[in-house]
């Protein structure tokens, strides 16, 4: 059994394998597949609770992942934001000295969540400019507010 604590390297290696088999398009197809089949809990939380659904979803997942983050919800302004001070996934990959992370690892967060949230009428932005430091910023806004 691969324990859930070793999933992230397995995921990163899966992206490498897919890219070797079918190019970047194969990786993208998998991310889309995962968004469509595996993120129903985010989709249903946002459908039921609006922007607060993001808060409910990520407060659960990021706690279980022992992330170092600040999460903000301003429903009046229509803004939800996660400032990731240290991503537990990328952080773990960067700590491994015998395995190189998939070169575009962090972008799965862009594809997966965008694909769930934009069809529901939200705007989604993910700043990955510091992802090699295991830092990023994710912003979701209601349709009329620029992220």
């Amino acid at each position: 059994m691969i324990p859930c604590t070793e999933f992230i390297p397995a995921y990163s290696e899966l992206f490498k394998y897919l890219e070797a088999r079918g190019g970047r398009e194969a990786v993208e197809r998998f991310w889309e597949h995962l968004a469509d089949r595996f993120l129903d809990n985010l989709r249903s939380a946002v459908q039921e609770h609006g922007l607060r659904g993001c808060w409910l979803y990520w407060s659960h997942t990021l706690s279980e992942e022992a992330a170092d983050f600040t999460m903000e919800l301003d429903e009046d302004a229509g803004v939800f934001r996660i400032t990731m001070h240290h991503c537990p996934s990328m952080g773990r990959l960067l700590e491994l000295d015998h395995v190189e992370p998939y070169h575009d690892y962090c972008r799965h967060c862009d594809v997966l969540y965008r694909r769930v949230l934009e069809p529901l009428g939200y705007r989604y932005a993910l700043d990955l400019s510091r992802c090699r430091e295991a830092r990023c910023e994710l912003t979701v806004t209601t349709g009329n507010v620029a992220p």
Partner: protein
């Protein structure tokens, strides 16, 4: 409505996100559908050879006790009833119910048809190029109950 802010640090929570089992299962099933059975085994083999390289080296240096230590940690973390029997030449791990499969079933996540390969192929890959080999003596698809055997290869 007031703005809400949540601040958490890594030390506030244990690292144990069991839903990752669901994502792994989805990945294995996707590979199976897109590229066939052999792709699943090839991927898991490549992953295990790369990621578990330090464990393979420990197996070479220290023998089966290194594997026993590894799997004791894994099952202590994930939970489940497990029995270990070890001699210099053989390690047998009897798992009453795989914690990963139990989580998938409890959450209604699909269990990949080849989920067993996360033990069968991964264990073989860990042992590759060492004096030991691995085999999955029994595996129940519904619960993940299994008997995993590691043994010294006779010349």
């Amino acid at each position: 409505m007031a703005k809400e802010v949540m601040r958490r640090t890594a030390g506030d929570n244990p690292y144990l996100h069991r839903d990752f089992h669901g994502a792994l299962s989805a990945g294995i099933e996707h590979l199976h559908q897109a590229y066939g059975e052999q792709a699943v085994r090839e991927y898991l083999w490549q992953f295990a050879r790369a990621f578990y390289a330090p464990l393979t080296e420990a197996l070479r240096r220290r023998g089966l006790v290194a594997l026993e230590e590894h799997f004791r940690k894994v099952y202590a973390l994930e939970g489940g009833e497990v029995r270990f029997t070890r001699s210099d030449d053989e390690l047998r791990i009897e798992v009453d119910a795989c914690p990963a499969v139990a989580h998938l079933r409890s959450r209604g996540y699909p269990v990949a048809r080849l989920f067993r390969e996360t033990s069968a192929t991964v264990n073989r890959a860990i042992c590759h190029d060492t004096p030991f080999a691995a085999e999955l003596l029994a595996y129940d698809e519904q619960t993940g109950r299994s008997i995993q055997r590691f043994y010294r290869i006779r010349p």
